[in-house]
Amino acid sequence: MTLAIEAVGLVKTFPSKGGDVEAVRGVDLAVEQGEVFGFLGPNGAGKTTTVRMLTTLLSITSGVARVAGVDVASDPDAVRRKIGVALQEAGLDPRQTGRELVTLQAQLFGLAPAAARDRAQSLLELVDLVDAGDRRIKGYSGGMKRRLDLASALVHQPDVLFLDEPTTGLDPASRLTVWDEVRRINAEGTSVFLTTQYLEEADQLCDRLAIIDGGRIVLEGTPASLKASLRRRRGLDHDPTLDEVFLEATGRTRIRAAGDVEQVQA
């Protein structure tokens, strides 16, 4: 079976005046079809850069990436047909209505006008934006924009869905809506690659996850296995939280001082 996402030695270097920035320094990934794969890491770890390379938006400095079995560098257009993308900054056009945006997206993916309109209607229903659908996006709240962005990533029932911090800035109810939606999409067979800052989100949604720090993957496994392994190493009498796994993996430990939580470099 081909992997949903396969990356070997993925590197991205940004040229810059003060010397090159090595945003991603050799990432290997093997995401199975049907998986929800979580990609975690502190700010600036290289999550977005990795997603942008995998979604054809950014050139790959070195290494190989295949998405849905297609080489990203040599056949980007075939990759684009198979993926859905919702980026960290929801990319929407403020002057269109939600419905127009999703309909246009569906048509750009090759749906006939009538089919595109139907698809837009059902996606708007899905993300609970039917009432707002005919208003300009300019007036949408942050959460509405995120949900619309998610809807527009689904017009063509992608094989692989990339979500870069899909719930950042959402209220708890909207976050649950997005989680339900991700589960539903996944149940229909779409593999999901999702970055997040919320460890609970990873715990709830992801079959497997990788933690990236400083451009390198430092830990990988199922949430349960990662917790169990830390528990063994520390000799704890209870399972640690994913937070603790994350902090240990990224070389940060928490010390409590005067009731405050501080982050320090270990």
Binding site: T55, T56, L57, L58, S59, D77, A78, R80, R81, I83, V85, L87, E89, A90, G91, L92, D93, P94, R95, Q96, E100, L104, Q105, Q107, L108, F109, G110, R136, D149, S152
Partner: protein, 250 residues
């Protein structure tokens, strides 16, 4: 092609929803037409000025105004908005032909310019302007002026794609000063001072202006053809550069 039309339709919708951006493209060219004709019209009476071919000086000035109206390049500013807002990335991540990605807006620019040019010509008819080459010539005027609008918008889009900055794109639009004014815009090229004549000769807009003028004052097929050749050549170069820029966009 279909994708370019879809994106073009979206760009037109965008224009219609920001009518405030359309007003200056109509009013500023009209303003210049009125001011220029008002100030210099007396120097060039229709009866005794050979190069006017019997028409008023307004007829001679109209091409400058048509070109001015076609040199706002607003399409590029919307593109910068798309880039800054992330919508451009959404489009780039979709299986859209890279040519369609840049040509969509240019297509909308062409439609907009045809309408704008037609409106400007109709408004200026009461100034005693006749399109000497007739209805066919009128249609050629629309095509020639909007071909320039597309070319100029293409140039502005190129700056937008390269710099991704509204400020830089705005600065780039200043190029329209030399392009539009180092031309025979007040008198024919033969009456310009030597330095101006040389500058005008190297300025491609000169040939487009002369083509437009020839259609209004009395068609000289060679001059018109030259105008089309220049604008189509430049336009093709701009589209090619745009497509290359979007392909290597990182």
């Amino acid at each position: 092609m279909n994708q370019a039309l879809l994106l073009g339709r979206r760009a037109l919708r965008e224009t219609l929803r920001t009518p405030e951006s359309l007003a200056p493209t109509l009013l500023i060219p009209l303003f210049f037409l009125i001011v220029n004709v008002g100030q210099a019209g007396k120097i060039f009476p229709a009866s005794s000025t050979g190069f006017l071919k019997g028409q008023s000086y307004a007829a001679f000035q109209l091409p400058s105004s048509l070109l001015l109206a076609a040199s706002f390049g607003t399409a590029a500013l919307y593109l910068v908005e798309d880039i800054e807002g992330g919508y451009f990335d959404k489009l780039r991540a979709a299986p859209i032909g890279r040519t369609a990605l840049v040509v969509g807006r240019l297509f909308a620019e062409a439609v907009k310019s045809v309408i704008l040019t037609a409106v400007l010509i109709l408004i200026s008819l009461p100034f005693g302007i006749r399109v000497a080459s007739g209805i066919f010539g009128f249609l050629l005027l629309l095509v020639l002026a909007s071909a320039w609008a597309v070319t100029y918008a293409g140039f502005m889009q190129l700056i937008a794609l390269k710099t991704r900055s509204a400020a830089a794109t705005n600065s780039g639009s200043l190029l329209f000063f030399p392009l539009l004014f180092l031309t025979p815009n007040f008198v024919p090229r033969s009456l310009l001072t030597r330095p101006m004549e040389i500058a005008a000769t190297f300025n491609p807009v000169t040939y487009i202006m002369e083509g437009l003028r020839s259609l209004i004052l009395g068609a000289d097929a060679t001059v018109v053809a030259r105008g089309f050749a220049v604008v189509l050549g430049l336009g093709a170069v701009m589209v090619i550069l745009n497509v290359r820029a979007v392909r290597s966009y990182d």
